[in-house]
């Protein structure tokens, strides 16, 4: 499969027909999708119409844009006008988005061919994509295992080689963790770098849209297209944004810290071995790597608790609109209002979503908000400050993305506490609003995750997104092309 950048360059040069590019992707989809079940709706006809539009633009002599003809799959919580938008929930089954999300607008303006709606944990709540209201997605490396989540569909589609690029969303780790578990690159931008307009909200103060790509350089390309101020998202950062592709991919002289807090005892030892090798690669490529003794991220240990309190509290209000009154399915005997609310929400939301709404409702309720929600906000502020202070001394922080590799389907589904550990190393950057990338750095050699990919996580200071992506590109060059999943080259 060509990189997105090469597809776009060749389409723009007239050397490649966008319709051929799409049809090849559709052939791959036809063969590989049954192995991964990455899509909720492949929406093939819409993709064909989009490819036709790119051809028309070429025929008119227009430049179709930086993603000319590149098939891009979108997580099914990102709105595209007139297309299905379920957020992985039965509560939105049959719903069609009234408007394009900001990111979809930008993709379409740059000539991307939107291909399909990818699977996710319901409303982004989960780390395995098993909490989808529709079906689980399978890991392209091992069909018995989860792809991670919540952007598991997007990560699996890219890892299976169906599309070179996809969009995910992240609240506590939902881009980087599935990228790590599927052996692809996933980038969570700084909070405010990418507009959230048209993205089904989970935890509004945490949610970000970001790229998932087979190549780090393509992640930077997609980031460049979607990032930038949107006046219709008040949390979108104002001002011009530097292009990530224009930053030279170079590790020379970069000060990269490895906080001991990232090397938690709960991280699988063989995962850690791969991270140590990756740090070696960074150093060999000219980065100044240094272990940071325990203590400077003293409050990071509370990240999971703080993350759950903040995200669930916000979710409990964000999900109040799914009441069966104005849109989506309704479960009601048609007689009384409260049973309509209770039956619609009680029936259509899955157990994980109900659990989180209950937790968030409790954390915000009178008499409890001070002890839980407001306290979590205070600790969040401390975590953010500790990170800011670290970036006085370091350009980037490095560590594992996930404490472990892809785990077997069903293993953690009934154990929310075990599942929450998936966010152990990713939630802190979300709480602090930092840009953070997961790049594949090798396969586990032995043990329960043998043969499965490991992700190296590089985190930068707020707003330093181009530098983080440049480091990921340089790492990929220094280390070499990532290993690919068995599905990558699967023939029909």
């Amino acid at each position: 499969m060509l990189t997105a950048r090469r597809i776009a360059d060749q389409v723009r040069a007239g050397d490649l027909d966008p319709i051929d590019v799409l049809e090849q992707a559709l052939q791959r989809l036809a063969v590989r999708e049954e192995h991964v079940r990455a899509y909720l709706d492949p929406d093939v006809e819409f993709a064909r119409r989009m490819a036709d539009v790119v051809v028309e633009r070429l025929n008119r002599g227009e430049d179709p844009g930086r993603l000319a003809g590149v098939p891009v799959s979108l997580k099914d919580n990102i709105a595209v006008a007139g297309r299905s938008l379920t957020a992985g929930s039965r509560a939105l089954e049959g719903y069609r988005a009234p408007h394009d999300s900001c990111v979809a607008e930008r993709l379409i303006a740059e000539g991307a061919v939107l291909l399909g709606r990818t699977n996710l944990d319901e409303f982004g709540m989960g780390a395995s994509t098993e909490s989808s209201g529709f079906h689980a997605t399978l890991n392209p490396w091992d069909r018995e295992r989860v792809p991670g989540g919540s952007s598991g569909g997007s990560a699996a589609a890219v890892a299976a080689g169906i599309v070179p690029l996809a969009l995910g969303t992240e609240t506590g780790g939902s881009i980087r963790q599935p990228a790590a578990l599927c052996g692809v690159t996933g980038f969570k931008p700084s909070y405010g770098a990418v507009s959230r307009r048209g993205v089904v909200a989970f935890g509004s103060s945490l949610d970000q849209v970001g790229p998932i790509a087979a190549h780090a350089e393509d992640a930077a390309l997609l980031y460049d297209v979607i990032a930038g101020h949107d006046p219709l998202d008040s949390t979108s950062a104002p001002g011009e944004r530097a292009s990530a592709l224009s930053v030279r991919a170079d590790l020379e002289g970069l000060r990269i810290g490895i906080p001991e807090e990232f090397l938690d005892e709960r991280v699988d030892k063989r995962v850690l071995q791969q991270i140590e090798k990756a740090v070696q690669v960074l150093g060999d490529a000219g980065a100044i790597t240094k272990r940071i003794p325990r203590g400077r991220l003293a409050h990071m240990q509370h990240s999971i608790a703080v993350y759950h309190l903040v995200a669930c509290s916000e979710a409990s209000t964000n999900l109040a609109r799914f009441d069966g009154v104005r849109f989506g399915p309704r479960v009601s005997d048609g007689h009384a209002l409260w049973p309509l609310y209770e039956d619609t929400r009680g029936t259509l939301f899955g157990p994980e979503v109900r659990r989180r709404i209950v937790l968030g409702t409790f954390a915000l309720s009178a008499g409890h908000a001070d002890a839980w929600y407001r306290r979590a906000l205070s600790v969040r502020a401390l975590i953010r400050r500790e990170f800011q202070q670290l970036f006085d001394d370091y350009d980037l922080l490095a560590g594992p993305t996930s404490p472990f590799g892809a785990f077997p389907l069903g293993e953690k589904l009934d154990d929310p506490v075990a599942m929450s550990l998936c966010d152990l190393l990713t939630a802190p950057a979300c709480l602090a609003g930092l840009p953070s990338v997961s790049v594949p750095c090798g396969l586990v050699r032995k043990g329960s995750f043998k043969g499965l990919p490991v992700g190296l996580c590089l985190t930068g200071a707020q707003g330093d997104d181009p530098r983080v992506l440049a480091a990921a590109r340089a790492f990929e060059v220094a280390r070499g092309e990532p290993e690919r999943s068995p599905l990558w080259e699967l023939e029909a």
């Binding site: 709105a79 509290s313 104005r326």
Partner: protein, 488 residues
């Protein structure tokens, strides 16, 4: 439980009343989206993905609503919080699309203000304004037979909630406060404050306490009082109900009540125990909106002289009646028109009369705004001066006003000539007129001489009519008196 309305306030208890007023701000568009904020349109025609809470939509704060909110708060003498923060107030209702209302909870944009109330028939008093904050309105549910229909046109319309301190003691004070507040809000142009359209809505908190006590009793909140009459009725009913309970030694329950104007009673809506836990949480989709101190100062500078101050000045400078001063300060355009006119006439009482009676008559008859009248302050002032100088009678003056409006090219003086309305004050000419009337209405004249003094007006009226309104009525009066009393 319902309470009978009683005109009799309880004897042993002092009512303590505080009001919460929801005022719709007169913006073009809604508070967080670009839909028009308009009343009386077909259902669900002023809606968009944002105000119907479609998944993924985000609010964008309307800067004009902020401006109007601050302007209103400044007019109420409030301190302004320049860092606007919003919260989500959560509750489920079919007319609340997001399942939460975006409001200001912890930091209202205005606080610690006050409003002076002066009204005929009651002693002047001041009411503290505890807070004034921005929030969005909900939609409406319309029940039609078995159906509940939802109209979201109003959802997201900007409101300023103004909360008074518990400073009011009688229903009359409450109504006077509301009227003064409404006049102020209209005067500074932040709202049309029309109760019928729902752009000025009131909830009343009432408690009673033992006379002389300074401890507040348990209060009830009576919701949705949408006319001044209902406010007064609900307060009277609630005061009587609580008084009867307390007289009987029973406690007042903290609860939310409604008012039924047909029965004149209040009724229970919900107990405090079943009160909502609104789970206030920061509205994380809206970062702090910072208004500069300079912007606040500019808004303060742009405030007109407020009606209370202007009314006091009119009373002081012009010795106007309170009734005329109230009328002139109901609308800043009217007060401006008056001031431009009186600057030229230097006769406040006369000018107030001509502006309130004649200029407003022209507006009414022509369905025009004051600013659209051909009868400008300059042209009206010329006429007032002619009348005051005795060149024209009041009656003739009214005809000239009509002519001024009809013939914008002619001045008052020119119209007096064209219509031949010069007041006749010449003694001989008037004497002739008086004699003619006495001859023609001999029986009236006779009854006057026999002591029915009221008939003088009839005689003067007849003479005025005979002169075509030109005769000087004051002189006529003197001449009639002289002639008829001489006969004695």
């Amino acid at each position: 439980m319902s309470a009978p309305a009683s005109e009799n306030a309880p004897v042993n208890w002092e009512p303590v009343i505080g009001l919460e007023v929801h005022v719709q701000l007169a913006t073009q568009s809604k508070l967080f989206c670009r839909c028009p904020a308009r009343f009386g349109q077909p259902p669900n025609t002023l809606i968009c993905p944002v105000c119907t809470a479609q998944p993924g939509t985000l609010p964008v704060l309307n800067a004009e609503a902020v401006r109007l909110g601050i302007r209103a708060a400044l007019a109420l003498g409030c301190e302004i919080d320049t860092r606007l923060l919003f919260e989500r107030k959560s509750y489920f209702a079919p007319d609340l699309p997001k399942g939460y209302q975006i409001t200001q909870f912890e930091r209202p944009l205005g606080s610690a203000g006050s409003l002076a109330v002066e009204s005929e028939g009651i002693e002047a008093f001041a009411v503290s304004i505890t807070r004034a904050h921005l929030e969005e309105d909900a939609g409406k549910v319309v029940h039609r037979q078995a159906l509940s229909l939802i109209d979201l046109n109003r959802a997201g319309t900007p409101l300023l909630e103004i909360v008074s301190g518990p400073d009011l003691r009688t229903p009359e004070q409450a109504v006077a406060f509301l009227k003064t507040l409404r006049r102020l809000l209209r005067y500074v142009g932040v709202s049309d404050a029309d109760m019928e359209k729902g752009s000025f809505r009131c909830d009343a908190n009432v408690s009673l306490r033992a006379l002389g006590s300074d401890v507040l009793g348990t209060r009830t909140e009576t919701k949705n009082l949408n006319s001044f009459r209902f406010v007064a009725g609900a307060l009277r009913a609630e005061i009587a109900r609580q008084g009867a309970l307390l007289d009987a030694g029973e406690p007042v329950a903290q609860e939310t009540r409604g008012y039924d104007p047909d029965s004149g009673r209040t009724h229970l809506l919900r107990h405090k125990e079943s009160a909502h836990d609104y789970r206030y949480a920061p509205e994380v989709d809206l970062p702090a909106y910072v208004v500069s101190v300079d912007d606040v100062q500019a808004l303060r500078d742009a405030l007109p002289e407020l009606p209370a101050a202007r009314r006091a000045r009119f009373l002081h400078e012009g010795a106007l009646s309170t009734r005329d001063a109230d009328a002139l300060t109901a609308d800043p355009k009217l007060a401006d028109y008056y001031e431009r006119t009186v600057a030229l006439t230097e006769q406040p009482r006369e000018t107030a009369h001509w502006v309130l009676r004649e200029a407003l008559r022209l507006c009414h008859e022509g369905k025009r705004e004051l600013a659209e009248l051909a009868t400008t302050p300059e042209r009206l002032a010329e006429l007032i001066r002619l009348v005051s100088a005795g060149r024209l009678s009041q009656q003739a003056g009214r005809r000239v006003v009509t002519a001024l409006e009809a013939q914008p090219d002619l001045s008052a003086q020119e119209l007096v000539e064209q219509l031949d309305l010069h007041q006749v004050s010449d003694a001989a000419e008037l004497q002739h007129l008086v004699d003619e009337v006495i001859a023609a209405e001999a029986s009236v004249a006779q009854r006057y001489t026999q002591g029915d003094a009221s008939l003088l007006n009839a005689l003067v009226g007849s003479a005025m009519q005979a002169s075509g309104g030109k005769a000087n009525p004051q002189r006529l009066r003197e001449l009639f008196r002289a002639r008829l009393e001489q006969r004695d």
